[in-house]
């Protein structure tokens, strides 16, 4: 392992720690959403290698897919969703660091796709770690309550509360550092072991994966048969219309504005 790889791993640990703090513990500006966390990681890694644009584009591509896959996951009450923030950071880190050693576009894309799939599994592991931190916080809470009830240490609240945040940061930092430190080489070896035919198969997967996210979003938004009919007509319309996001935005604006002006709050 080179010094360069150590620097990259530490950088990924730091980014992972910061974006994981945003996912539930603090701020919640949504830096932790894949569409932000992944490009951010790509940008910093790219800057380290003098390839900012390449890193940013990779981050955007991976972030788009992960955003769709986990769009329905909500941190409600006791529910701890898969750690989309860590998955985003790690998929870009593994894809970028493993892929830059390959000359061909196809091999680099395979690294990205495999990294994305591995990171999805790591996101689930991240959820288990999150639950562990919350259990530690429960012990901290008991300690703080005892201290405050004894009336001797009002500093205990600030100390306990801040320690909770540090635990979240520390967990994410270590997890991202270790996975990046150890994960790049096996990913390279796996990609080298594939034939050209298998490689292009992975690119087909990458193209189809957004369908799952679209399905989830449609499942969340469409509530009845009437809306389903409108939705299908819309899909047919956009199949025929020229590919332009502006038309999508225009129709979305009209649909939203129509509801705002015509409906009352009884709906």
């Amino acid at each position: 392992m080179t010094e360069d790889h150590l620097t990259s791993s530490l950088l990924i640990g730091l980014i992972g720690g910061i974006v994981d703090l945003d996912s539930t513990a603090t701020w919640q500006f949504m830096i932790s959403q894949p569409i932000v966390a992944a490009p951010l990681t790509g940008l910093f890694l790219g800057a380290l290698a003098g390839q900012e644009a390449l890193g940013l584009k990779l981050g955007l591509m991976i972030g788009t897919i992960l955003q769709l896959l986990w769009i329905e996951q909500l941190p409600l009450g006791m529910n701890v969703p898969p750690d989309a923030a860590l998955a985003s950071v790690l998929s870009v880190a593994l894809g970028f660091l493993a892929g830059r050693d390959f000359d061909t576009y196809v091999e680099r894309e395979v690294c990205n796709t495999v990294a994305l799939l591995v990171a999805v599994a790591l996101g689930l592991f991240g959820r288990a770690l999150d639950r562990g931190i919350r259990r530690l916080n429960t012990r901290l809470e008991s300690w703080v309550t005892l201290r405050l009830q004894s009336g001797k240490a009002s500093w205990a609240l600030a100390a306990g509360h801040t320690l909770g945040g540090f635990l979240t940061f520390g967990k994410a930092f270590l997890f991202c550092f270790i996975v990046t430190w150890l994960g790049v080489e096996p990913l390279r070896a796996f990609t080298r072991s594939l034939s050209f035919g298998q490689n292009t198969g992975f690119i087909v997967i990458q193209g189809l994966l957004p369908a799952v996210g679209f399905a989830v979003l449609a499942g969340m938004c469409i509530k009845d048969q009437r809306e389903l009919r409108w939705f299908l007509s819309g899909v047919v319309l956009f199949t025929i219309l020229p590919t332009s996001a502006w038309i999508g935005w225009l129709i979305a604006g009209i649909a939203g504005a129509r509801i705002l002006w015509t409906q009352n709050d009884a709906v």
Partner: protein, 268 residues
């Protein structure tokens, strides 16, 4: 509307509390959930209200009880609680009123806040951002953050002022936002964006068009195959999602299907 007789807390204190509310969930735990975060946020105000001693200790214990709500609306609850603590300090109400109001308000704010932010605003802004991201627009993350955080920061900072100034009347103010109507509008706008995204951004290519279609019809043939194929795929995945199959399992099945179709030469 109820207003505090002589407000004890100035703008600076309320800003400090709104700022501390950003750390509400740092010590989220299974017993009291956001309780430590809540007490941490309002601690400076309690310290100003009560001198060191049993009254302050009692106030701390009061707010170490279970607390869970939407984090963006928590500052609103904090504002209301401060106005009640002030009244309690003056002997106008008893402690049970603080407990009951806080509990009722946190439930209402959780319903309104989660429904608006998690269920409507975030999916809409994400779908809108995806339309740009698929076009490789590199400023997408910044736009996403800016647009998403406008209502977040507005509620976070104004919430504590509204809560403190209006007390329990803050519920009337929330009604003025027509949250239900806004949610419906956002849902319809998200569906419209999806109608654009599905036929244009699921990449599905087959070699049969190249070999069987004259070149002048290739573009429209490709668009039709992509649109119909994407709609079928999304339909199948949505059926799985409605049948409560895990999203990761659906993704895995899709990957296997893609590899099989690629192996048979149906997809390229």
């Amino acid at each position: 509307m109820e207003a505090s007789a002589s407000p004890l807390f100035g703008r600076l204190m309320l800003f400090q509390i709104a700022f501390r509310s950003f750390f509400l969930q740092a010590s989220w735990n299974y017993r009291g959930m956001m309780n430590m975060g809540f007490l941490y946020a309002i601690q400076p105000a309690l310290d100003k209200l009560y001198p060191p001693g049993p009254a302050r200790q009692e106030a701390y214990s009061r707010h170490l009880e279970y607390f869970n709500t939407n984090p963006y609306f928590a500052s609103l609850v904090m504002g209301v609680v401060l106005s009640l603590e002030e009244k309690y300090c003056r002997g106008e109400i008893d402690a049970d009123i603080i407990h009951d109001t806080k509990e009722g308000l946190m439930t209402a704010c959780a319903a309104v806040g989660d429904g608006f932010f998690w269920d409507s605003w975030r999916p809409f802004v994400a779908a809108a951002a995806l339309t740009l991201a698929f076009g490789n627009f590199l400023l997408t993350p910044i736009l996403f953050l800016v647009v998403y955080n406008v209502p977040h920061l507005y509620f976070r900072f104004r919430g504590v002022f509204w809560g403190y100034q209006l007390g329990t009347d803050v519920i009337k103010l929330l009604k003025a936002f027509h949250i239900q109507r806004a949610r419906l509008a956002l849902r319809y706008a998200t569906i419209a964006l999806l109608c654009y995204l599905i036929p244009n951004h699921v990449n599905l290519h087959t070699p049969f068009l190249l070999s069987n279609l004259p070149l002048e019809y290739f573009y429209i043939g490709e668009k039709l195959v992509q649109g119909i194929g994407a709609a079928l795929l999304v339909g199948a995945a949505a059926a799985g999602y409605r049948a409560k199959i895990d999203v990761l399992m659906i993704s895995f099945l899709l990957m296997v299907m893609a590899l099989v179709l690629y192996h048979w030469g149906i997809l390229i």
